[in-house]
Symmetry: D2
Amino acid sequence: MSRTFASDNNSGAHPAALVAIAEANDGHVHAYGDDPWTVRGVRAVRSHVGESAEVFFVFNGTGANCTGLSAVLRHGDCVISAATAHIATDECGAPERLTGCKVLTVPTSDGKLRPADVEPLLAALGVEHHSQPRAISISQVAETGTIYTAEEVRALADLAHAHGMYLHMDGARLANAAVALGSPIAAFTTDAGVDILSFGGTKNGLLFGEAVCFLAQGLGDRFKFERKSGGQLASKMRYIGAQFAAVYGSSVWFECADAANRMAAKLAAGARAAGVEVLWDPRANEVFALLEPDVMRHLQAVADFYEWEPRGEKMIVRWVCSWDTTDEDVDAFVAAIPAASGGTS
Amino acid sequence: MSRTFASDNNSGAHPAALVAIAEANDGHVHAYGDDPWTVRGVRAVRSHVGESAEVFFVFNGTGANCTGLSAVLRHGDCVISAATAHIATDECGAPERLTGCKVLTVPTSDGKLRPADVEPLLAALGVEHHSQPRAISISQVAETGTIYTAEEVRALADLAHAHGMYLHMDGARLANAAVALGSPIAAFTTDAGVDILSFGGTKNGLLFGEAVCFLAQGLGDRFKFERKSGGQLASKMRYIGAQFAAVYGSSVWFECADAANRMAAKLAAGARAAGVEVLWDPRANEVFALLEPDVMRHLQAVADFYEWEPRGEKMIVRWVCSWDTTDEDVDAFVAAIPAASGGTS
Amino acid sequence: MSRTFASDNNSGAHPAALVAIAEANDGHVHAYGDDPWTVRGVRAVRSHVGESAEVFFVFNGTGANCTGLSAVLRHGDCVISAATAHIATDECGAPERLTGCKVLTVPTSDGKLRPADVEPLLAALGVEHHSQPRAISISQVAETGTIYTAEEVRALADLAHAHGMYLHMDGARLANAAVALGSPIAAFTTDAGVDILSFGGTKNGLLFGEAVCFLAQGLGDRFKFERKSGGQLASKMRYIGAQFAAVYGSSVWFECADAANRMAAKLAAGARAAGVEVLWDPRANEVFALLEPDVMRHLQAVADFYEWEPRGEKMIVRWVCSWDTTDEDVDAFVAAIPAASGGTS
Amino acid sequence: MSRTFASDNNSGAHPAALVAIAEANDGHVHAYGDDPWTVRGVRAVRSHVGESAEVFFVFNGTGANCTGLSAVLRHGDCVISAATAHIATDECGAPERLTGCKVLTVPTSDGKLRPADVEPLLAALGVEHHSQPRAISISQVAETGTIYTAEEVRALADLAHAHGMYLHMDGARLANAAVALGSPIAAFTTDAGVDILSFGGTKNGLLFGEAVCFLAQGLGDRFKFERKSGGQLASKMRYIGAQFAAVYGSSVWFECADAANRMAAKLAAGARAAGVEVLWDPRANEVFALLEPDVMRHLQAVADFYEWEPRGEKMIVRWVCSWDTTDEDVDAFVAAIPAASGGTS
């Protein structure tokens, strides 16, 4: 099937992930992670988030977010997120089901949470009638395609820690953020005070597999029970470990994210040049644009993409580039804009 | 790593699964199951359990069991299983966490549940103080290596249905049972009255992936929300679908299970000939034997395996054969028994 | 302790409730509701909501809301409420914990939910990534002191039913609403399409006790298990039944609510005459007023009340009248306003 | 209704509890426990379990057990109890629903758990596939009418603490145990190492109300959120506090339990003298006897009681005495035994 701009989940796996799986398919090893491939995968992740991080592989992003948060949430607690956060909008209530706790959302202008958004909610602390804020969750890249700087992450971490709370990061597109920021992953995670990190694999070239990383000492002490009781323990874990080792233990992760980001930048520039209003500031692999409905439909026929939400008469749409998006893909799409736009005039 | 008798989760994937994954790694497709590979995988599963079955892929066996059961359990309900059932002993409480319901266990002589085991528990029906039996769960192959005949399954299904309950089957080793019974899978599932089936993939040659099958009409109507809120929805689902299509849409599934079963039979026969007491009647790919502790330790040094539970001074041990277990593996292990046994005299 | 305007939970019980309890304290009766007092209590509630209603007593409002909603919510579902709803803000996440589902909130101008608030959220229906709206929950009286007319309730019920959803009403102050509307309770509950009703007792003269009423056929079929597994089954239920029979099987409920509403109207009028801005339209027993912080503190020293939320430099405060609030209570408070206000000039 | 031997939940409230409620019904006090009656109730409970105990009132026994246990259980944990424990058999799965955790049961000879029953289950500790034993729960009085000595409690507490676990006591009939043991409540709770105690009220003369006591430092730190999110926070808490103050802050608790125990002893002696086999050793207020079905039915017509479970052709029945059971009640019942027994010969 031809490439679209619908989702980085629609792209396949990078060849390096496939090769790694084939190599790992060698005889018998212990199940459930006590195998050399998992060890290598953990080592690869630690090379990005620090040697003292506790790293656990799980199947998918929802599983990573929900079990990771559950490790610190108790009955009556809540997690604070942006209203646009994946945990709030796109996990079908898995956080509530798996943690038993509330996700308390705040509207934001650009999908990024700031201390001033969170502070008013902290009045609930200590009052037994209100869910107790126990974690702040941010997405890096945010669901709007925006990126937190290390300083912005640190400000939220400091706020969280000052109130006995934890900072959780949904890093489904962590690699894209690192490339965009031009900094190591640790700079805006471990070093910026993140406590719990969903370290993304699937959207950046893996077939499947994410990692839950506990960056603060001790938080992961009993996570293996959290993971197993949450249905997220892979029996043949070597296949996740091997992929992480191959992609995040080499330069493949960077190349994948860099390619996706560059194509998104090219797409944004091309769309703007063609007169399309591009929202927020696309720095990673997602571009949000404001289109007339007719233009949207014409362009979706060229290469599929999703509607995000209406704004007045127009529609905000999302274009996502993947590790395998090509210059030709972008060129063809951008080239189609004028005709599509003409269709509405 | 050399092959052991520890677990069929320790074996790798059949080459056909790897080839299928490589073939499915072709450009972009819709995520979350709306892709041709998932369609083929569903078709392959339906070829075993009937065209009207509703089939949903999930990541692993615990996920399959818990979300499948959750589809029919309501607050205050319970599921009845053998005390040895995987859902009762080896899922770290995931059923309780994911369903909010109790797993009510019954001791059995051989790991198989019979109507007479269940009937006394049905006195709870209608009494608000007691958890309400809503499902009976059996494992095929049972955790003791024993197998339910189609008639035995039917008897439990009839009992369940007569009381407004459902019959769930944990089919992690479904293929091994089919081969051992010499009958199609449908014969002891769909045709025998099973309502909800965890259709096993991982233990029979896949890298990962199981299927939840609703064999009774309507039970799966809202399962997609159950699956997503349970953290079991794969974004790049094509890789699960492709494996099922390759393994269960061909003769590979049979060859894998048949090989494992034959090696187990050979192992049981060899052990018996060497004077070892083999428990129950190993007809699938698991052999349970009673060993002196010293003999056990000697043999574990030859090829690893797990202790099951003590019986008096001796230990019941479990030997599991996989799709890739060879005659040489078995011969070498059996040949070591006399010396190991001599070590204790 | 002297009466305040802090909460109708701060008032005691009406003497009729105490007398009823003393009368019910007569020898042995079956526990758990199979007793004549519970029968009479159910009869009293049914006299307000219809003979075919299924009525179950529980301990408190949070218990009533959460178990009542849980009866219709499944994994992956959500309930839609106003952002100010008690279930969203004042139950410490009990709905999420007890139902496993999300409470999806909508900002409103006056605490009342309208079809136009709900409709945009229904786009989620059928999409597996999003929590599935399964119930709309409204509070009557709303947490802002406003009241739904029967027509407004009906409009929400119609919307809910058109989408396979249910309408839940948190009727903690149901009696106050009935008195304010000058209509029978059934007019804006059963007859207006409400499916599940938390029928309030505690805030209207009882010591403790609420009723969960299923007004649509069949919804309560297995509620007894929901109630018991939710920890809301009273062993000596006769003491709840007797109170409901005494208060809601006579005119006491009306007298209590009428008294509270009249004192609130008097308080609102007095405050307005003294120059205080009263918000929304206080028709039941709650008055919301906008005060300078200094004025607020002066008045809290006269008779305690709670801050609701800041609005600019001022504070919105809540004054609640109870069944036992007296003219003297209101007169004294209103008389203190000028001096308190002078304190800030 | 005349008194029966069915349940101590069938008896009414002691007059002292009613008087206390009437006295507490005095004007406005803060809701949710910030009132003088709750303070007095807490003081009364502390006079039995120690000044440093953290004491929280809840509605009922199921609520007390489930929220108390939930305070120490995390996902993947389990609580170990006797197979006959109320939490395992008579709470309709509320523990699983409210804690998300498994109740792991052990068969016992007499309803009492002993270290040797628990030890084999501790092999699960640290193994991620198995629910992690985190608490041992015992009932004092046990559901079979038997009583733990302080030494027996201590042995279980030591075992629990040696493995990082907690000892929970379901003290629904705590008072009866204290009277039977002739010792202060603290002797077999706080001083014997109990960490979490459900301190019973309802079965010993209250209308409703139990207390969750944390006897080990720090365990109750965030229990108020556990209680509220579990639906167990009473708004007009003064009525629970006042009852505890009246009954447990005086000699009433002792008189109630002593009366019930003495009547049970008399009943057991009378039944034995009439040739009935009495099981276990009835020392508190419950007597278990083995009856022919015909005898049972004759006697149930004299004064109702419940069947416990069949034993061969006979039935084990339970006779419970309450604080208000009289000598005449027992005499009349015992006098009926010969005729009832004759009916079967």
